[in-house]
Symmetry: C2
Subunit: 260 residues, 2 copies
């Protein structure tokens, strides 16, 4: 219960975005529940990876769920560039204090946290903001929407009862091959599915490296363009990948998974 | 392209269910996008963890999206009890061939795969069916809905750019403590958030074991009743958990996460 005379505190909502950032747009109702759209349409304050992307997203939300505040009246704070570029861990080392971004909640305003695509703080920056919300005693409410690594895992046919998401692999070829072998050994010995991602323009390079490095019987799943018209999901042993003409779209995000 | 005279093959849709199994129901529109409800309403054939639970779910879907086929006309196949109880890995060892369940797709029917709560094949059985679909060359389409471990991760404030879900911990106290220490060491040294679950009636026992076993500075997040009216999400260092009266609802599912 709040003390008499003090405003109730605002909450931090984690607001998922569609996975079509930089791609052909999909109808929002296809990927977001009505409740997610309703909350997004009423929040007055935002913390975003990128303010311009957030405005474009909220404009789409407003087409079906009228915005409670005009776009230009929204208070939008951007995550520091370090967080955007190097993740929350690096930001922590740099002494970034996300509590400052949450000041409006202490005055009673609900705040939305959004990334450019998918769920904030999952395979994307934002965890430092959520951590700060807990430190301040704010309620944290995750909303429902598409999460690329999870859709890829479900559709992979690989073990979904033990899995790990490890982010990006190194881009330098020798380091990348070593990391692929390390993840394969882990997946084969423990049975834990290993998921990772790559910047779209390097999708083909990563797929080729995987086919050159992995053992023939290791199962490899590749899910590209998830939720988009161009969605393509394949899962087969490496030996079968090698027999076919393995192709992947270098213009859309992809998730890769290996397992046994 | 299909050969002339052959029917196009059906697809395997992964259909998420709400997280309210065994709890007070939440409105489906709150947790599922319209597209998920539309597909669920039209599928003629299903593979389910439990046929009775699936019928109850589809009855709720039908209240807003009229079902294309009456409930009693749906063809519902249950996953074998071994898969339900021990997971897909055990089933593989038992020689279960999920391809038989997918025969209707070879005749052109779309099939839905559903678990009792959340996303099939993620923290739940079903991967063997997805694997079989890929072996048969069927398209696999994951639909969007709530996934408890991911909502918990996003709301935890723990590292979301490297994380692992490891399922259930042992219930025997000494083995459980050893596993907790192992997961804590992994989380602290690698920075990889470790997520796990417990059967609801053991939630309190697991929380007490965590507080007794973990180091004071380890960050512990507990998310119970996700998406339900009773949703409770807390994330703090173990030392702070110990200072408060740590309580958890033993009637609703919970996800636990540790990290640094």
């Amino acid at each position: 219960m709040d003390e008499p005379g003090t405003a109730p505190r605002g909450r931090l909502y984690l607001v998922p975005a569609p996975l079509d950032f930089g791609c052909d747009p999909v109808p929002l109702e296809q990927v977001l529940p009505a409740a997610t759209l309703e909350v997004a349409a009423r929040l007055p304050v935002w913390i975003a990876e990128n303010a311009k992307t957030l405005r474009a997203y909220l404009k789409r939300v407003g087409a079906s769920h009228p915005l409670a505040h005009p776009l230009q009246a929204l208070r939008i704070q951007q995550l520091p560039r370090t967080v955007h570029k190097h993740g929350d861990q690096a930001a922590g080392l740099a002494g970034f204090d996300a509590r400052d971004l949450l000041a409006p909640a202490l005055g009673g305003d609900d705040i939305g946290l959004a990334s450019e695509a998918g769920m904030p703080a999952v395979a994307d920056p934002g965890a430092s903001v959520v951590r700060a919300a807990h430190e301040l005693g704010l309620a944290v409410i995750p909303l429902i929407g598409p999460v690329a690594p999870l859709l890829a895992l479900a559709a992979s046919g690989l073990n979904g009862q033990s899995f790990a998401f490890v982010g990006y692999l190194p881009t330098e070829p020798a380091a990348r091959a070593a990391r692929i072998r390390e993840l394969e050994a882990l997946a084969l010995t423990s049975g834990q599915t290993q998921l990772f991602i790559e910047t779209p323009y390097r999708n083909s390079a990563l797929l080729q490296a995987l086919l050159q490095t992995l053992q023939p019987r290791t199962q490899l799943a590749v899910a590209s363009g998830l939720t988009l018209a161009s969605q393509a999901i394949a899962s087969r042993p490496v030996a079968a990948w090698r027999r076919g003409a393995a192709r992947i779209d270098d213009r859309v995000p992809a998730v890769f998974a290996i397992g046994r």
